[in-house]
């Protein structure tokens, strides 16, 4: 056994160890050494751009060689009068309402089926046969790149008879539908893809939440005569509230994004006729196609405030007492 080279002397400050040993093993050089690379990288590429974005939003910077001039809040007043900006915001509103609601409802339904609908067996509730397989399959769209999913659905949504959906409709005698070229349908088609991709993630999330509910709760309720549905609505759902809150916030933040899907799937990048444009797409276009960097940054700032407001509101409104178990 190795003897401690510097046995601690009772009563002596710093354990009585010689100075050299203290300095060599001191924690501060270690802390700095370990933190410096990540922090520097992070500040340069993340923090400083975020701060600069606010600055640039207050200028009228219009090109790589132009010099920016401070124009105060003029970009924002122009933003208020911009038709396209408000169209994008309206679309975000629709996305925000439909996508979280639909995704959570569908995911809850499938989680219920996979976890609790098998009836009571022994000590707890079990899922339906094959739940493991379904869970693996359902999660698959999440691991695909959004851009890839977009290209994939281009072929499915093709507006003539060669599109996959339209082919199937043709078999039952329905005329082909212009999924992405009809201004009224385009946004809904894109939302369908978003929901398609998101459901699996939330099935897994809710399943994990359901399995963390202790079995005694279910047992007690079942002993009192509760059937499967009562169990779900009166017990599982309230206990899952925290997880559902998290899901709502995540989905809402995704509703403010939708960049890759709209860029790849929509006609004319946000068409037809601005029927599907979203703010991230507008920011990207304004900045990199039109070089209006000041204006684009102002849009970024507006997007940021909308996202933060949504997250804060959701957390506040859906707050309930934490149930500890």
């Amino acid at each position: 056994m190795r003897h401690d080279k510097y046995p601690l002397k009772a009563g002596a400050p710093s354990g009585g160890r010689p100075l050299l040993a203290r300095v060599r093993n001191s924690k501060y050089p270690f802390i700095v050494g370990f933190l410096i690379a990540p922090v520097v990288l992070y500040v340069v590429f993340v923090i400083s751009p975020y701060i600069q974005a606010f600055q640039i939003a207050l200028t009228n910077w219009k090109g790589i060689s132009a010099t920016p001039q401070f124009i105060g809040l003029e970009n924002f007043t122009r933003l208020f009068e911009d038709e396209v900006f408000w169209a994008a915001v309206r679309h975000h509103g629709v996305l925000l309402l439909v996508v979280p609601l639909a995704t959570i409802a569908i995911a809850l339904f499938f989680s219920f089926l996979l976890n609790l609908s098998g009836g009571q067996k022994g000590a707890g509730m079990t899922g339906i046969w094959g739940s493991k397989f379904y869970r693996v399959v359902f999660f698959l769209p999440q691991v695909l790149a959004v851009a890839i999913v977009g290209v994939l659905f281009q072929a499915i949504y093709r507006p003539d008879e060669t599109g996959v959906i339209n082919s199937m409709l043709a078999k039952v005698g329905v005329e082909p539908i212009g999924w992405l070229i009809d201004p009224d349908l385009a946004l809904w088609s894109i939302m369908g893809v978003m929901i398609w991709q998101a459901v699996g993630f939330y099935v897994v999330l809710f399943s994990a939440g359901m399995s963390s509910i202790p079995k005694d709760v279910f047992e007690a309720a079942a002993l009192d005569g509760a059937g499967r549905f009562t169990l779900f609505f009166r017990i599982t759902l309230p206990l899952l509230w925290d997880t559902m809150q998290v899901a709502w916030v995540y989905l809402g933040i995704a509703a403010f994004d939708a960049f890759a899907l709209v860029q790849v799937l929509s006609v004319d990048r946000g068409g037809p006729d601005n029927a599907t444009t979203v703010l991230p797409l507008e920011i990207w276009r304004t900045a990199f196609n039109f070089s209006k960097f000041g204006y684009a940054s102002a849009m970024g700032v507006a997007l940021f405030f909308m996202t933060i407001t949504f997250a804060a509101l959701t957390l506040r409104v859906t707050r309930r007492e934490r149930i500890e178990f």
Binding site: R24, Y42, F45, P49, I56, F138, F139, A155, I283
Partner: protein
């Protein structure tokens, strides 16, 4: 009393009537067994429909890569006449999918390694050492998760440009690492907090330096968490679309990553009328990810939910 009444409804037994508590569940169970049959079938139907909705498009794309151009413009629901691999060959060569794949593998490997190294170093220090500014640095990292990337897009482009890193893989790698740090630090510091201090203390008493303790003792103990987060980072960075199209312009097509490559092919396929090639490219982009997912799906699902579910 207990011996006579557990489990059995002895309706004929006048003396020991079964207590209400044990009788009712039994009766309920019997009554509800019939609806279970119908409900069970409906559930399977619903689940199967969704499973088809998911597998369907992917299988269709895969099959379409074997069709010829005219077949694709015919009925979408027929099987290909022959299963030649020429579309795949064309996608690999002419459409440079091979190049894009190699680029993406290189970039993602470097940036995941960098993210995990720097992220775990930062998370370890933040989780286990008290020093002035610890909380400030931690919140600085974590708050990065709440900001939309689009806010920083324009200045980021210029920062990278001023550093001369536009159109380079190094620029992309550094940006990927920087933007993956918040998530990594957040999860890993929570994880490091759960590791026992006794082992580290024993090591230090034996004269191990902080660095050695970290690399040789704490990191191996954190392996499950590290594996989950590594997989997340790999998937997330492989699937990046926005950052590559901003940082790697059209001047350096040979450096492009696979997501932007495939998206670009979809627009040019319209002009060159090589749809099977495009579907082959799409399949080539999907299959590696699917394989990684199927192999690691248990780690992915458990790692994901351990953080988000309280």
């Amino acid at each position: 009393m207990a011996a006579n009444t557990t489990g059995t409804t002895s309706a004929a037994d006048p003396v020991h009537k079964p207590s209400p508590r044990t009788a009712v569940p039994h009766a309920r169970r019997k009554r509800s067994r019939n609806p279970i049959g119908v409900f069970g079938t409906l559930s399977h139907v619903a689940l199967a429909i969704w499973a088809i909705l998911i597998i369907g498009p992917i299988v269709w794309t895969f099959l379409a890569s074997f069709k010829t151009n005219t077949e694709i413009f015919g009925d979408a629901l027929t099987l290909p006449a022959s299963y030649g691999w020429d579309a795949w060959g064309r996608a690999w060569e002419k459409a440079h999918i091979g190049q894009y794949m190699l680029n993406t593998v290189f970039v993602v490997a470097c940036s995941t390694a960098g993210t995990m190294l720097l992220g775990s170093m930062a998370a370890y220090v933040l989780a286990r050492y008290k020093f002035p500014g610890n909380r400030a640095v931690y919140y600085l990292f974590v708050s990065g998760m709440t900001f939309p990337v689009f806010l920083a897009l324009v200045p980021l482009f210029f920062v990278v440009r001023n550093l001369g890193l536009i159109d380079t893989h190094l620029g992309v790698i550094l940006v990927y690492i920087a933007y993956s740090l918040p998530f990594t630090v957040f999860f890993l510091s929570a994880f490091f907090k759960t590791l026992p201090t006794s082992v580290a203390e024993a090591a230090m008493m034996d004269g191990c330096s902080h660095t050695r303790t970290f690399f040789q003792i704490m990191m191996p103990m954190a392996k499950p968490g590290l594996i989950s987060i590594t997989i997340f980072n790999i998937l997330g960075q492989w699937n990046q679309y926005l950052l590559p199209i901003v940082l790697l312009s059209g001047n350096v097509e040979d450096k492009w990553l696979i997501t932007q490559g495939v998206a670009n092919i979809s627009t040019s396929a319209g002009y060159e009328a090589d749809w099977p090639g495009m579907f082959a490219a799409l399949s080539m982009a999907i299959i590696p990810v699917m394989v990684v997912y199927i192999v690691f799906q248990r780690q992915i699902q458990s790692g994901l939910t351990s953080g988000a579910v309280k």
